[in-house]
Symmetry: C2
Subunit: 456 residues, 2 copies
Amino acid sequence: MRNVLVIGAGKSSSSLITYLLQKSFEEDLHVTVADVFLELAQSKLNKHKNGSAITFDILNKTERQMAIKNANIVVSMLPAHLHINIAKDCLEFGKSLVTASYISNEMNSLNDQVVKKNLVFMNEIGLDPGIDHMSAMQVIDSIKEKGGKMLLFESFCGGLVAPESDDNLWNYKFTWNPRNVVLAGQGGVSKFLQEGTYKYIPYHKLFRRTEILQVDGYGKFEAYANRDSLKYKSVYGLDKILTLYRGTIRRVGFSRAWNIFVQLGMTDDSYTIENSDKMSYRDFTNSFLAYSPSDSVELKLRHYLKIPQDDVIWDKLVELDIFNANKMVELKNATPAQILEKILKDSWTLKKDDKDMIVMQHLFGYQLNGEKHQIVSSMICMGENETYTAMAKTVGLPVAIATLKILNGEITNPGVQMPIKKEVYQPILKELAENGIVFTEKEMPYLGYNPEIITA
Amino acid sequence: MRNVLVIGAGKSSSSLITYLLQKSFEEDLHVTVADVFLELAQSKLNKHKNGSAITFDILNKTERQMAIKNANIVVSMLPAHLHINIAKDCLEFGKSLVTASYISNEMNSLNDQVVKKNLVFMNEIGLDPGIDHMSAMQVIDSIKEKGGKMLLFESFCGGLVAPESDDNLWNYKFTWNPRNVVLAGQGGVSKFLQEGTYKYIPYHKLFRRTEILQVDGYGKFEAYANRDSLKYKSVYGLDKILTLYRGTIRRVGFSRAWNIFVQLGMTDDSYTIENSDKMSYRDFTNSFLAYSPSDSVELKLRHYLKIPQDDVIWDKLVELDIFNANKMVELKNATPAQILEKILKDSWTLKKDDKDMIVMQHLFGYQLNGEKHQIVSSMICMGENETYTAMAKTVGLPVAIATLKILNGEITNPGVQMPIKKEVYQPILKELAENGIVFTEKEMPYLGYNPEIITA
């Protein structure tokens, strides 16, 4: 039996482990799941006869190396900064490695040694990064093979709540790390290309410069720009492209309301609020508004940010209870972002039967034989329940599929890499489709980057 | 003869050196001015018989120590981060030291040794910090001596262009480091106290939350909040105070127009613009606006930031030439802030005969025998010309006066300190007044923090 070691039994490992266990009989696999919490690892295996749970401290070299030595291939689902020790052990003991994380500089620096040992260190093979790379490169390569010249590439992805569980005014619930949602867009300017010109959006304007997209059967969505849309320009072979934009999808109206928090300064994670533990939600809101001897917090906020009383963003704020004088923050030395996260969790935590939804859409504009063309490619994935979420499925399945294909020698090109080569993305996309993760492609008239038309 | 070593012959040293030379006969002084540029040091001395210019590299220990060993007291007018080596040498050779800079942690850590050697390391004795400390503490101490209880302290300071040289729509020119003006307010939230409540303003709202102040004979000014108004809360003995606010003064209307740059993202110093050297001013402006196949840069900006065409802030933008397609940026790998600084320097550089102006105002609110009182204390200082600016005078004179008083044993309390003790501020303020730097105090009805009334 071949031993697959999965390190990390968190939320995103459910679908990954289930896939490997389902394949374990025909593929002769044993799945070892390692986590700091033994019970968490056990729960993911559900007493399957081809699975075993172990516990170890990732920083304990002896324990870690023992587990890796016994594996035929290693999957790390830990946070990105914890991969590097595992990667070095894999290199030492000659094991291939799969992760869903961005390639760090440290990871990248191992490339020559990984190639020399003929190993595959496959990274960025979750959802985003992951499925986005593969589905985009499949279309880009096919356009280039036909002799087309890429003019435009826009790519959008978002984790949302499924329509049937969508019961708040924001049309949003946390389906992933809430902290990342609160901090989204911070830490630098957002940068992209529109019709040959570099464009820059500062954080405080990010949520007012959204783009609108349509997904057949699911209606309108909006997207705000990711921090660096240009990151994959040369990796994707798009050096001469005119428009390059990557964005995060929300339901229409989310960003305009979220902008209120940005404008107030509630998403700031760089300083702590005085006496935060003894504040009510109302006090917290008031600390971003000027003192007034007479006006209420509500009136001050409306006046400050010019919110009409019949505007739905007002109802969204009220729904979150930010004016409640009785609910206490209770967090000591908390940053505004930490307090806001707590307030949002009260309202946006998935309930037991809530389902989530992944939306991904790419736009490809290109020129072929003197004519301009445009393709829109969309993927929707619905979660099954709180454990088998769409997020866990779309992150975990490509990891699982890649792992098995590396183990079986179907993916062989060695090195530290992401899934942008045909030999990698083609078989994986095929199997993802068999598992319900399907992209629908549609030709449409070439629009270029034209906000008026896209919005309509 | 007693040798005063002044290190740094930049803009702020003119009045300082002139004062010391004028006193050199009666006080038996020799003034040694050291600078990397010998000619600059010489020019400040104007061939005075009691002055000599030397040049040395501040990082060359032998040269630096030689000069310091030969001095009876040392003044450092270098940028703050260069003080520490000088301070350590002063400690080694038993010399007192005067600087106009904020006390760094490194400087502060020398305190015990400075006390042990019975030396005075006087810092923060320029304008702001400096005159602000002294003039505020004089009033605060007198209120406390009467048995009053401090309720409110607001303190404002600004370097502006004098009314007679005020010939642009912004009513502003650079009288100090332009880079600091462009970056003002960045690097953290602005934090202060209003009627017992902590308030926080994020950078992107800073220039829309100004306060209005009046200075008799000079009209209305506005002020935006400094980063940390609470810094001197305990230093000033104001631990129980209800309102504490420190602000930077501009002419009314400056901040509303400056906010346009903030909103666009033009003041950002954290990333570089692609191909910045080959851009026109117009291209630069356009890089913060969305692409449009039809609309002009002007129309896009007006629409984006909702500027009516008859609003004076529009004329202010036009005056700076930010829509000029022929003026080139010419800076390689420049940040937005660096490019904006260049654009502003075209318009805001002081002309040869231009005069500058310093405005400082404090508000003190207090309770005495059950009644509430308020005092407003204001100081205006006009520059004489481009060299003897009001900025050079108000920064340099207190440094010079303190230097002589330490040398003469009139200020003796040892340690690393700022001028908040009566024995220090009283004689210095007296001599500043004799040199035309005068505060006018006025009793007024107690208003507390009441934006409506202050604005009126």
